[in-house]
């Protein structure tokens, strides 16, 4: 399988402290790739660095051979990396459908003049994206809730909304930052199924999660971060049997 995302020596430094130390990460096209590590290992920093929200001090990253380091966040999104946030960041003053459509921003082409005239092309574009959005909401299990305000959704549904919104980008890579946090077992299983279905649609998934039970079965590959550095990399089986990984987690538990 070909490599979709590749980082080389990715480093993030905050005033002398290294949040990420020369991380070389490879995510294969079409995989569900897990990123694990104890608290403070730099997982969220990794996602933020990949999406340009945190400036990197060294290293490079590329998506399918397209270099993206140092690019602004929106351009990285436009190049095909979508994400969700650890602390949910839906748009509070908007309905579920409107939220979802923001994810489709890059597919809109209509000019100001076309919008003011409400040209046929503008209407068709809006209509086709609306249809896609309804489909995405259906896909994540939010059918029939499109007119509701986003803030009115339950916690679990808000997470799903974030995923639907990210899917609207038609990304090549989807970054999920602790999508299962705060959910019960049944909800987690449902969401895991959705994640698999996303992968089956040809979208590569990079997921951060603490629930090892789920990660073991969900992920094709796992990378372990520890103190900002890549500690191990491999199939779930390889990783969990790695003594370095075990001591890292035990070290944290102790």
């Amino acid at each position: 399988m070909s490599v979709l995302l590749e980082t080389r020596g990715l480093t993030v430094e905050f005033g002398g402290l290294f949040a990420l130390k020369a991380v070389d990460l490879q995510v294969a096209d079409g995989a569900i790739h897990g990123l694990i590590g104890p608290n403070g290992a730099g997982k969220s920093t990794m996602v933020n660095a990949l999406t340009g929200l945190v400036p990197t001090s060294a290293g490079s990253m590329q998506l399918a051979d397209r270099p993206l380091h140092g690019r602004p966040t929106w351009e990285i999104a436009d190049a095909g990396i979508a994400r969700t946030f650890q602390n949910i960041r839906n748009f509070a003053g908007m309905t579920v459908l409107e939220n979802t459509l923001v994810g489709a921003h890059r597919h809109f082409r209509a000019s100001f003049a076309a919008l003011l005239r409400r040209s046929r092309a503008a209407r068709e574009e809006e209509e086709s994206q609306r249809a896609r959005a309804l489909e995405a909401l259906h896909f994540v299990g939010l059918r029939g809730r499109d007119e509701q305000m986003a803030t009115g959704l339950s916690y679990g549904h808000q997470r799903r909304l974030e995923i639907a919104r990210a899917l609207m980008l038609q990304p090549r890579l989807l970054l999920l930052d602790e999508p299962l946090a705060g959910m019960n077992a049944a909800e987690k299983d449902e969401l895991a199924d959705i994640i698999r279905a996303i992968r089956d649609r040809g979208i590569t998934v990079l997921i951060i999660e603490h629930d090892m039970q789920i990660m073991r079965t969900l992920c094709d590959r796992l990378s372990v971060l520890h103190h900002g550095a890549l500690l191990a990399d491999g199939t779930p089986k390889e990783v969990f049997s790695n003594p370095l990984v075990q001591s890292a987690y035990l070290g944290q538990a102790a």
Binding site: L53, A77, F91, E127
Partner: protein
């Protein structure tokens, strides 16, 4: 060279006063991220109270009241203590109820309090200046250095007082429990509450100290320029705020540095530029813009404070209940974008032109639609995109001056063209004036839109001040304060639309066009991108929205409408002068949309209707006939109440759908 030394002394004096007042803004901003505009008025009250205490008797409400005639060194601390207490009371009554309200509500409440205090001060002390009493320390002969530098003893006192209180405050914040609690609250209010810091007391303390500093600055200012006046606090307040932002708001040393820097820039610009004194304020703001362009968090500010403040700008959706219920139900219905309802509303608005026969009420409606349109433009920037803009009137001025200069000074003045022959140019100018304002908006926006939240607000305020000062001082271009008169009234195929009725109908037609245009943009991916930026800029960017570009677009679109309304305004008034574009207009327009409902289509017009009708009806009240200054006091009071009971605005329920209707 013989003015350099004296300028240095002058700058130090002014800087000390700016710095003290800047501390007030910085302290409260640091703790609750509120720009407390009322500090300008507490500054003024400090001066008045101190002066009153020093006199044997003073006219209060027109009656001579006996006063203790205290010496300066007793009256000063007493005035500071009284004003500090007053600051805490204001916080308790007007701001604390708004702790969890939408972000703009406390700001508007602060402006309302400021208007209220100013009006009340005029009622108490009268409109005339009160001379600062003479006292022993102030009468000592000046110290003369090198024959050219005159230093009064009181100037040394001002400097020493400023330095001593700065050091005292720094020690307080560093070493006392309360000071540490204040710092902790500034860092993270939620965490502070969790670890048991009494946040309300900390905030009250910030207001106490802030008000004391404002009062001290006020007394020293009044002493230096030997007067007290109800409106004396406005400009120094603004300067202090600018100084606080320049130094990095939230930082005490930053306030000191910002105050000194601003004073030095102003003084030396005034001293060395040709006719510099007239341009000094513009130079001060230009420096501010320059510094912020390179260092968005201010000189000593922390980067985090340049983040968008937490909390929604618009606030939670309100459920209809209580007295507002019928209003809410109506606007909830309106907000759904029902075409029939909209057409019915437009028909009623048109019908008003024929039902109302009184020219006065029709003229009121002309202003309602003018300001409603203007506020609609600002609403794009503030209400939809969530960018706090305090300089919107600059666009309005650009449009108005563009068309006036073209018609009156160039076409008629230079080429002798009769405006009646080119009546159609007015309609073209609506577009061209808008486009020019949009272009200027884009130019100004490019460096400034990197800033967030209140920094942006101060920057836009500076931009407006520069435009206004140019309009006042560049007499060859704008005729300066004399204004431009004889601007042709709008006409249609040679029929002048001069009467209030026709102007209203024309304004209404433009309003419908403007709202229609805004609606079409807002109900599309563009509007969704704007609202996404307002609600969560980071998430919007991560969803592929080029936020910088869309902010600029929002700014320019708002500017277009501002320019367009400016053209209409100039022709409907037939006369413009810098007076129509004062600083207060910016605040007024912002109030209109907050009152009416941010991010709604009807809100700006509703706010304009409420504001203008209230002021006009109040004009006729017997109490206002006797005491005209109480009109604004009443307005301030109503605004504070409105913000407390309805911080989301009157038409809060008229939320706008962001979907293109099928």
């Amino acid at each position: 060279m013989d003015i350099f030394g004296q300028l240095l002394v002058n700058a130090l004096m002014l800087g000390a006063i700016y710095a003290l007042a800047a501390v007030a803004y910085t302290l409260v901003y640091g703790v609750i991220q509120l720009v407390n505009f009322a500090f300008g008025e507490l500054f003024m009250l400090g001066a008045f109270i101190c002066v009153s205490l020093m006199l044997p008797s003073v006219a209060l409400f027109g009656w001579q009241a006996p006063m203790p005639a205290l010496p300066f060194l007793v009256a000063l601390p007493l005035a500071v203590v009284i004003v500090a207490g007053l600051g805490v009371v204001v916080e308790r009554l007007a701001y604390r109820p708004l702790r969890n309200a939408p972000r703009l509500a406390p700001l508007i409440a602060a402006i309302a309090v400021s208007v209220l205090l100013q009006s009340v001060a005029q009622s108490i002390w009268g409109p005339e200046e009160l001379r600062f009493p003479r006292f022993a320390l102030g009468q000592l002969p000046p110290i003369v250095l090198f024959d050219t530098i005159y230093i009064r003893v009181m100037e040394i006192f001002v400097l020493v007082a400023a330095i001593a209180s700065m050091i005292g405050l720094t020690l307080f914040v560093q070493y006392t429990r309360m000071g540490r609690a204040m710092r902790a609250t500034a860092e993270d209010p939620t965490a502070a509450r969790l670890v048991g810091i009494p946040v309300n007391r900390v905030i009250a303390m910030a207001f106490l100290i802030g008000s004391a500093f404002a009062a001290l600055a006020g007394v020293l200012y009044a002493q230096t320029y030997s007067f007290a006046h109800p409106t004396m606090g406005f400009l120094p307040g603004l300067k202090a705020l600018t100084a606080a932002v320049l130094g990095g708001i939230g930082s005490i040393p930053g306030a000191a540095l910002g105050g000194m820097l601003l004073a030095f820039v102003e003084t030396f610009a005034a001293g060395y530029l040709p006719n510099g004194a007239a341009w000094r304020d513009a130079v001060g703001f230009a420096i501010l813009i320059l510094v912020l362009a390179f260092r968005p968090q201010g000189i000593l500010g922390r980067k985090e404070l340049n983040e968008a403040p937490a909390g929604s700008l618009v606030g939670e959706q309100v459920a209809p209940r209580g007295l507002f219920a019928p209003v809410d139900r109506f606007f909830g219905w309106l907000g759904q974008g029902n075409t029939v309802l909209n057409i019915a509303l437009a028909c009623i608005a048109v019908a008003l032109a024929f039902i109302i026969t009184n020219d006065y009420w029709l003229r009121i409606l002309v202003f309602v639609v003018t300001y409603g349109m203007l506020a609609s433009g600002l609403n794009i920037v503030v209400g939809f995109t969530g960018l706090l803009d305090l300089g919107f009137v600059a666009f309005f001025a650009v449009g108005a001056y563009f068309t006036s200069i073209l018609f009156v000074l160039v076409l008629r003045g230079r080429f002798g063209i009769d405006p009646a022959d080119i009546w159609w140019l007015f309609y073209a100018n609506l577009f061209l004036g808008g486009a020019l304002a949009a272009l200027i908006g884009a130019l100004i926006g490019t460096p400034t839109l990197r800033l967030r939240g209140d920094y942006l607000a101060i920057m836009t305020l500076g931009f407006h001040e520069i435009i206004r000062i140019v309009a006042t001082n560049w007499i060859d271009l704008t005729r300066g304060p004399m204004g431009i008169r004889g601007i042709p009234t709008p006409s249609l195929f040679g029929m002048p639309l001069m009467s209030p009725k026709y102007l209203y109908l024309l304004g209404l037609a433009l309003s419908i066009l403007v709202v229609f245009g805004i609606a079409r943009l807002v109900r599309s991916y563009v509007g969704r991108a704007w609202v996404a930026i307002r609600e969560n800029e980071v998430a919007a960017e991560a969803m592929g929205v080029p936020t910088a570009r869309y902010k600029l677009l929002s700014y320019a679109t708002g500017g277009f409408i501002g320019g367009l309304v400016g053209v209409f305004f100039a022709h409907s008034q037939q006369y413009i002068s810098p007076l129509s574009f004062s600083l207060f207009e910016n605040i007024l327009i912002l109030m209109l949309i907050v009152m009416g409902g941010l991010g709604t289509f009807i809100g700006p017009f509703l706010g304009a209707l409420f504001w203008i009708v209230f002021l006009q009806v109040a004009q006729g009240m017997p109490l206002i006939q006797a005491h005209p200054e109480l009109r604004y006091a009443a307005l301030g009071l109503v605004l504070v109440l409105l913000m407390i009971y309805r911080p989301q605005g009157l038409a809060a329920r008229a939320r706008v759908s962001l979907m293109m209707s099928k």
